[in-house]
C-alpha cells in the first residue's frame, strides 16, 4: 500500500487547478490503529506475515479435518465389507477429504509460504494490495467453514472432488452437499484469484533494488509461476461452477443430457482447471526445496536457470495436458494420442528438476537436519510419483490404470510425498524466522522417519491394489479379489502417518515451551543463503531496515562468503556483522489495518447460504458485501497517526489525502468482486 497510496510529486500535482492542501480524504470511516498485539490486530491485519501465519494455522486445522476423513476411509477399507460407514457417508467423506486437502490444505499452505516469504525474499515491505491480501485470507477461511458446515446441514457433497456431471445434478444428488461444495469453492476461488493478482503484482513491481528476475530466490520464482497458473485456472473452474449452479439452483440445461447437454463439457472445464491446479500445488514445494537443499549442501543450487526455466516450462506445459484425465472418456483416438504425447514430455522438465537437485547434493557437505531430510524425502518420493505419472501418460496403459488405486497411489506420492513433504520441511526451516524459536531437531528427525514410514506404508501398497484391479471411490470390496492384505497394510500406515502429524504438532508446542530457556535464535540459524535470513528473527513488522541492494543470486550468502576464482569459498564477514539489527521501525511507513476485508468477506458465505436455502439471505449477504466494499473504498488510505518516513517531508503534505488511490484500490477490489457477481445477481 505504501506504493499506491504514496503522494504525487508536486510538479505533477500542481497544474491540476485544485489546491492540494484543500484536498480532503474521501474517507468517512476511521481505520483501526496500527499495532501488533491483541486478537483484534489479527482480525484487521493487513500485514503479509500475519496473514501468512493465519493461512498456515488455518490450513493445519483443515489438515486435521481432512486427515480425520482419511482415517475414516482407511478404517472402512480395513477389511472386506467394512461397516464403519454407510455407502452414502463414505461417498461424502472421500469427496470432502479430497476437496479439503486440495483446496483447504495444500493450496493454502502454499499461499501461507507465498504470503510470508515471498515479500521477504524480494525485499518488499508488504504485498501490493495489503487489504486485498486480508480479504483473500478471510474469503478462504469463510469459504472453508462454509464448505464444512454442510456436514451439519444435510450432509457433505457426494460427487467426488471432481464432481462429474451429470452425477452432480440435482436429479442424482438431491441433497445440498454439492451446492455447498460449489458455493464454497466459488468463495475460495475468489480468494485465490485476488491473491494471484496481488502476489504477481508484488513480484513484478516490488522487488528490492538490484533484485532482477534472475536473481530471485527459486521459491519466489515458483510462487510467480504458481500465481499465474491460479490467475488463469481459477476462472475456468468458476465457469464450470457457475454453470453447475445455474443447473442446480435455476434449472438450466448445461448438464441436462435430456436436452442435449454433453457431460464431457464439465470434464473439460474441470480438468483445464484441474491440471494446472496439480502443478500449482506442487511448485511452491519445489521452490522451498530448491532453496533448502543448497543451504544444507553448502553449495549453490545446481543450474539455477535450468531449475527456474523448468519450473516455468512445467507451468506452461501444464496447460496442454488436461485431457489425460479423460483418456477413457471417449474423446477419440486423435485427442488421446495428442494428449498422451504432451503429457509424456511434461516429464522432461520435471526430470530436470530432480536431476539438478541430485547434482546440488553431489559434492556437497550435507547436514541432515530435519528440513534437509524432508527435502530429500521430497526428491525421492516425488520421483516415485513422477515415474508412475509417466506410466499414466502412456494412454493404453492408462486405460488399465485410471480410476484405480494405482492413481490414488500416484497422486498421493506427488501431493503428499511431493508437496506436503516440502511444506513440512519448509515449516521446520522457516519456523525460527517466523516465530523466533527453533523446532526441536530430534523430534523433527523422528517426525521425518515416522512420516516417511507411515506415508510409504499407506500409499505404496495402493500401487499394487490398483494394478490388481481395485477401483477408486468404492466404499466396500468383497473378499476373493485379493485386496485384503494390502488394504490392511495401508490402514496401519495411515495411523502411523496420523501419529507423525500429531508429532509435528506436539513438536510445535514442546519446542515453544523449551524455547523460553534457550538463547534467542539469531537472524540466521541455518547459515542460509537468501536475504530473508538477513533480518532479525522473528521478522520485524517492517521487514527490512534498510532495504538491501541485491547484486546476485543468494545475495545474503555472498555477503558472508566470498568465492575465489577457482570456486573456493572463504568467509569475508561474520554473520552478525551482515545481518540487520532490529530497529524501532518508527520511521517506516506501513499499511494501516482495516476492518473492511473481514466485513466484506463475511457477506459471501451468507450469499452462499441464501442461494441454497432462501434467496432473501442473498440480499442480506449482498448488502454486507457491497457495504463492505464501499466502506473499504471510503476509508482513509492511511492512519494519519501512523509512523511515516521522515526522510522526505514533502511526502507528508498529502499523505493522508490519497482518497482517490483508496478508491482505486477499492474499485480494484470491486473488480475482483465481479467474479462473484453471478452469485449476487444470478
Amino acid at each position: 500500500m505504501a506504493i499506491i497510496e504514496a503522494p504525487a510529486p508536486d510538479q505533477l500535482a500542481l497544474p491540476s487547478g485544485e489546491v492540494d492542501t484543500e484536498f480532503k480524504p474521501a474517507g468517512v470511516f476511521t481505520r483501526p490503529k496500527s499495532g501488533s498485539t491483541g486478537w483484534k490486530s489479527w482480525l484487521t491485519t493487513v500485514d503479509h506475515k500475519k496473514i501468512g501465519i493465519m493461512y498456515g494455522a488455518t490450513a493445519l486445522v483443515f489438515l486435521l479435518i481432512g486427515g480425520f476423513e482419511a482415517i475414516l476411509i482407511r478404517v472402512q477399507l480395513w477389511s472386506p465389507r467394512g461397516t464403519l460407514l454407510s455407502a452414502n457417508t463414505y461417498n461424502q467423506v472421500f469427496t470432502m477429504h479430497g476437496t479439503t486437502m486440495v483446496f483447504l490444505v495444500v493450496m493454502p499452505i502454499g499461499a501461507a509460504f507465498a504470503n510470508y516469504l515471498m515479500p521477504l525474499q524480494i525485499g518488499a515491505r508488504d504485498v501490493a494490495y495489503p487489504r486485498i491480501n486480508g480479504y483473500s485470507y478471510w474469503m478462504y477461511l469463510f469459504g472453508g467453514i462454509f464448505l464444512n458446515t454442510s456436514w451439519l446441514l444435510g450432509g457433505g457433497a457426494d460427487g467426488g472432488w471432481f464432481n462429474y456431471a451429470p452425477n452432480n445434478g440435482i436429479l442424482y444428488s438431491p441433497s445440498h452437499g454439492i451446492d455447498f461444495w460449489n458455493m464454497g469453492l466459488l468463495i475460495t476461488g475468489i480468494a485465490s484469484l485476488a491473491g494471484a493478482v496481488n502476489l504477481i503484482v508484488t513480484v513484478l513491481n516490488m522487488r528490492a533494488p538490484g533484485m532482477s528476475l534472475m536473481r530471485m530466490p527459486i521459491f519466489t520464482w515458483m510462487t510467480l509461476v504458481t500465481q499465474f497458473l491460479l490467475l488463469f485456472a481459477i476462472p475456468v473452474l468458476t465457469v464450470a461452477q457457475v454453470l453447475l449452479m445455474m443447473d442446480r439452483t435455476f434449472g438450466a440445461n448445461f448438464f441436462n443430457v435430456a436436452k442435449g447437454a454433453n457431460p464431457l463439457l464439465w470434464e473439460h472445464l474441470f480438468w483445464i482447471f484441474g491440471h494446472p491446479e496439480v502443478y500449482l500445488m506442487i511448485l511452491p514445494a519445489f521452490g522451498l526445496v530448491s532453496d533448502m537443499l543448497p543451504v544444507f549442501a553448502r553449495k549453490p543450487i545446481f543450474g539455477y536457470p535450468f531449475i527456474v526455466f523448468s519450473g516455468v516450462a512445467i507451468g506452461f506445459m501444464g496447460w496442454g495436458v488436461w485431457a489425460h484425465h479423460m483418456f477413457v472418456s471417449g474423446i477419440g483416438p486423435i485427442s488421446v494420442t495428442a494428449f498422451s504425447l504432451t503429457t509424456m514430455f511434461i516429464a522432461v522438465p520435471t526430470g530436470v528438476k530432480i536431476l539438478n537437485w541430485t547434482a546440488t547434493m553431489w559434492g556437497g557437505k550435507l547436514r541432515f537436519t530435519a528440513p534437509m531430510l524432508f527435502s530429500i524425502g521430497l526428491v525421492t518420493m516425488f520421483t516415485i510419483g513422477g515415474l508412475s505419472g509417466v506410466t499414466h501418460s502412456v494412454a493404453p496403459a492408462d486405460t488399465q490404470q485410471t480410476d484405480t488405486y494405482y492413481i490414488v497411489a500416484h497422486f498421493h506420492y506427488v501431493l503428499f510425498g511431493g508437496a506436503f513433504f516440502g511444506f513440512i520441511g519448509g515449516f521446520y526451516f522457516y519456523w525460527p524466522k517466523v516465530f523466533g524459536y527453533m523446532l526441536n531437531e530430534k523430534l523433527g528427525k523422528a517426525n521425518f522417519w515416522l512420516m516417511l514410514l507411515g506415508f510409504n506404508l499407506t500409499f505404496a501398497p495402493m500401487h499394487i491394489l490398483g494394478l490388481q484391479g481395485m477401483s477408486r471411490r468404492i466404499y466396500t470390496y468383497d473378499a476373493g479379489y485379493g485386496f485384503d492384505l494390502w488394504n490392511k497394510v495401508a490402514t496401519i500406515g495411515a495411523f502411523i502417518l496420523a501419529s507423525s502429524v500429531f508429532l509435528f504438532i506436539f513438536n510445535i508446542f514442546y519446542s515453544r515451551s523449551k524455547a523460553k530457556s534457550l538463547p534467542p535464535v539469531g537472524a540466521d540459524p541455518w547459515d542460509a543463503r537468501t536475504i530473508e535470513w538477513m533480518i532479525p528473527s522473528p521478522t520485524p513488522e517492517y521487514n527490512f531496515d534498510p532495504i538491501p541492494t541485491i547484486t546476485r543470486v543468494d545475495d545474503f550468502w555472498y555477503r558472508k562468503y566470498g568465492e575465489t576464482t577457482d570456486g573456493k569459498l572463504v568467509r569475508i564477514a561474520e554473520t552478525d556483522d551482515v545481518v540487520q539489527k532490529r530497529s524501532d521501525g518508527k520511521h517506516i511507513h506501513l499499511p494501516s489495518p482495516s476492518y473492511w476485508p473481514i466485513v466484506s468477506a463475511f457477506g459471501m458465505p451468507i450469499i452462499g447460504y441464501g442461494l441454497i436455502f432462501n434467496l432473501w439471505l442473498c440480499l442480506i449477504g449482498g448488502i454486507i458485501v457491497v457495504g463492505g466494499l464501499y466502506g473499504w473504498a471510503l476509508e482513509p488510505a492511511d492512519d494519519p497517526d501512523a509512523a511515516h518516513d521522515d526522510h522526505d517531508p514533502a511526502d507528508h503534505g498529502s499523505d493522508d489525502g490519497s482518497a482517490a488511490a483508496a478508491i482505486t484500490e477499492g474499485a480494484d477490489a470491486g473488480d475482483v468482486a465481479t467474479e462473484k457477481e453471478p452469485e449476487t445477481v444470478g
Binding site: 457431460p263 543450474g303 468404492i474
Partner: protein, 408 residues
C-alpha cells in the same frame, strides 16, 4: 551425529529397512497372480495383450530410472554426509551448474520418452483398428448395473426382433472379436474388464467404441471404475466367454420368450406376484414386454434388468451376488476363496436353456435380495434408482424364487 542421537539413527535405519522390504514385497506381489479376478497383469485377449506388451517395457524403464535415482540419492547422501571430523568452516567446491551436463539430461529423458511415444502411438492405432465381422454389442451403464444389447443381424439397430437384450452378464464366443459400444442411461459409468481390455467410460448421450476379445473360454470379471453415485462399489460386470457352439445355443435360447405358465403351483403363484409387483419395472419377454413400452413408473434410469433368461446368468444384482453355488449362509456376499471367485456362479446347462439345477441355486442370496435389496446394495429406490423393498412375505419370496428358477 552425537551418540545421543543413536536411537534416532536406529529408528531411521529401521524405517529405511521396512520401506525397502515393503517395496520388495510389492514388486514380488505384482508378479503373483493368484487368480485375482481383476488383475491387470493377466491378459487374456488381443487388446489386453497389446497393452501388456507396452506396459512391461514402460514399467521396466520406470524401474531402471527408479533404481538409478534412488541409488544416486543414497550414494550421495552417504558419500557427502558431514562427518564429525570435518572442519565446520570448510566448504565444498562451489559448482553453479554445468550447462552441457544439464542439456544432456534434458535431452536424454526426452529421447527415452520419444521411444515410449512411438510405442504408445502404435498401440493406440492398433487398439482402435476396426475388426471386420465383429459382434456388435451395446453396453449401457445404469445405476448400478449393466444392460447389454446384441445387434445380431448387423443392421445397426439393437432393438429389433432378431436382437438380444440382456443384463448383468455379457456372453461372448471365445476367439471372436466383439465391438462394444458403451453408453449410459443416467450418469457416467466405466466399463472395464481388465483381462480383456482397458476401460471405456459409458457417458450418457455419447457412444464410445471398445474392442473385446477373449482368447479362452472363462469368466472375466470387471468393476465399474467411474464414480457413479451411491452404489458405485456394487456395480460390477462379467464377461462369460464360451465356445462358439455354446454361444450359438445361448443365442438361440435368448431369442425365445417365456409365454407359457410354469407347471408348478408354487411357481405359478410366484408368477402372479411377479406380474403385480416386479413387472412394473422388470421385463420378461412374452409376459409383460408390451406393457413395458407404456410403463408409467417414473424411472430415472429407464428400466430394470431384463429377467427373461435370468437363470442363464451366473450372477445377479450387478454381479455382486452369485446366482449359483453355495455360499457362506452367514454372509450373503461371496466369501469363497480367491481362487474360486473367477469360476463361481456357473449356470451349467441352464446357460444355453437347459434345465436349472435347483440344488445349486444360491437361495440364500436370492432371498436376502428380495427381502431387502437396499441392505445388500444401497440405492435410491424412492427416486426410481434401484430396487425397492417390496415388503414381501416369506411365502411370497419362496414363491417368487420358485418362479424365477423357471426362467432359463
Amino acid at each position: 551425529m552425537s551418540r545421543r542421537s543413536l536411537g534416532l539413527r536406529i529408528f531411521g535405519a529401521a524405517v529405511f529397512a521396512i520401506i525397502v522390504a515393503l517395496f520388495a514385497a510389492l514388486i514380488y506381489g505384482a508378479f503373483q497372480n493368484n487368480g485375482k479376478p481383476l488383475d491387470t497383469f493377466v491378459p487374456n485377449g488381443p487388446s489386453s495383450q497389446e497393452i501388456q506388451n507396452l506396459v512391461i517395457p514402460v514399467f521396466a524403464i520406470a524401474g531402471v530410472v527408479f533404481v538409478g535415482v534412488m541409488g544416486a540419492v543414497l550414494l550421495i547422501t552417504w558419500k557427502f554426509r558431514t562427518k564429525t571430523s570435518d572442519d565446520p568452516e570448510a566448504f565444498p567446491e562451489q559448482i553453479h551448474g554445468r550447462t552441457g551436463l544439464e542439456i544432456g539430461w534434458t535431452i536424454l529423458p526426452a529421447l527415452i520418452l520419444a521411444g515410449v511415444a512411438v510405442g504408445t502411438v502404435a498401440t493406440i492405432i492398433n487398439l482402435n483398428k476396426k475388426v471386420d465381422g465383429a459382434i456388435e454389442v451395446q453396453v449401457a451403464g445404469q445405476q448400478w448395473w449393466w444392460q447389454y444389447k446384441y445387434d445380431l443381424n448387423g443392421d445397426g439397430n439393437f432393438d429389433g426382433p432378431e436382437d438380444i437384450t440382456t443384463a448383468t452378464e455379457m456372453v461372448v464366443p471365445a476367439g471372436r472379436a466383439i465391438q462394444v459400444t458403451t453408453t449410459s442411461n443416467d450418469v457416467i459409468h466405466s466399463f472395464w474388464i481388465p483381462g480383456l481390455n482397458g476401460k471405456k467410460d459409458a457417458v450418457p448421450g455419447l457412444r464410445s467404441p471398445l474392442k473385446l476379445e477373449a482368447n479362452d473360454p472363462g469368466v472375466y470379471r470387471g468393476q465399474c471404475t467411474e464414480y457413479c453415485g451411491l452404489s458405485h462399489a456394487n456395480m460390477r460386470m462379467l464377461v462369460r466367454a464360451v465356445t462358439p457352439s455354446e454361444y450359438e445355443s445361448w443365442v438361440a435360447n435368448q431369442l425365445k420368450g417365456h409365454a407359457a405358465d410354469p407347471t408348478d403351483a408354487k411357481a405359478l403363484a410366484g408368477k402372479t406376484t411377479w406380474k403385480s409387483l416386479c413387472a412394473q419395472c422388470h421385463v420378461i419377454k412374452g409376459v409383460n414386454d408390451e406393457k413395458m413400452k407404456t410403463a408409467t413408473v417414473p424411472l430415472t434410469s429407464g428400466v430394470a434388468p431384463d429377467l427373461t433368461h435370468l437363470m442363464t446368468r451366473g450372477t445377479f444384482a450387478g454381479s455382486i451376488l452369485n446366482l449359483y453355488d453355495p455360499v457362506d449362509p452367514n454372509d450373503p456376499s461371496v466369501t469363497l476363496p480367491a481362487s474360486d471367485v473367477a469360476a463361481a456362479g456357473d449356470p451349467g446347462a441352464a446357460l444355453t436353456g437347459g434345465t436349472v439345477d435347483t440344488s445349486r441355486v444360491n437361495r440364500v442370496s436370492l432371498e436376502a435380495w428380495l427381502r431387502n435389496p437396499a441392505a445388500i446394495k444401497p440405492n435410491y429406490a424412492q427416486g426410481g434408482r434401484g430396487m425397492p423393498n417390496l415388503g414381501l412375505t416369506e411365502v411370497q419370496i419362496d414363491e417368487l424364487v420358485a418362479y424365477l428358477e423357471t426362467l432359463n
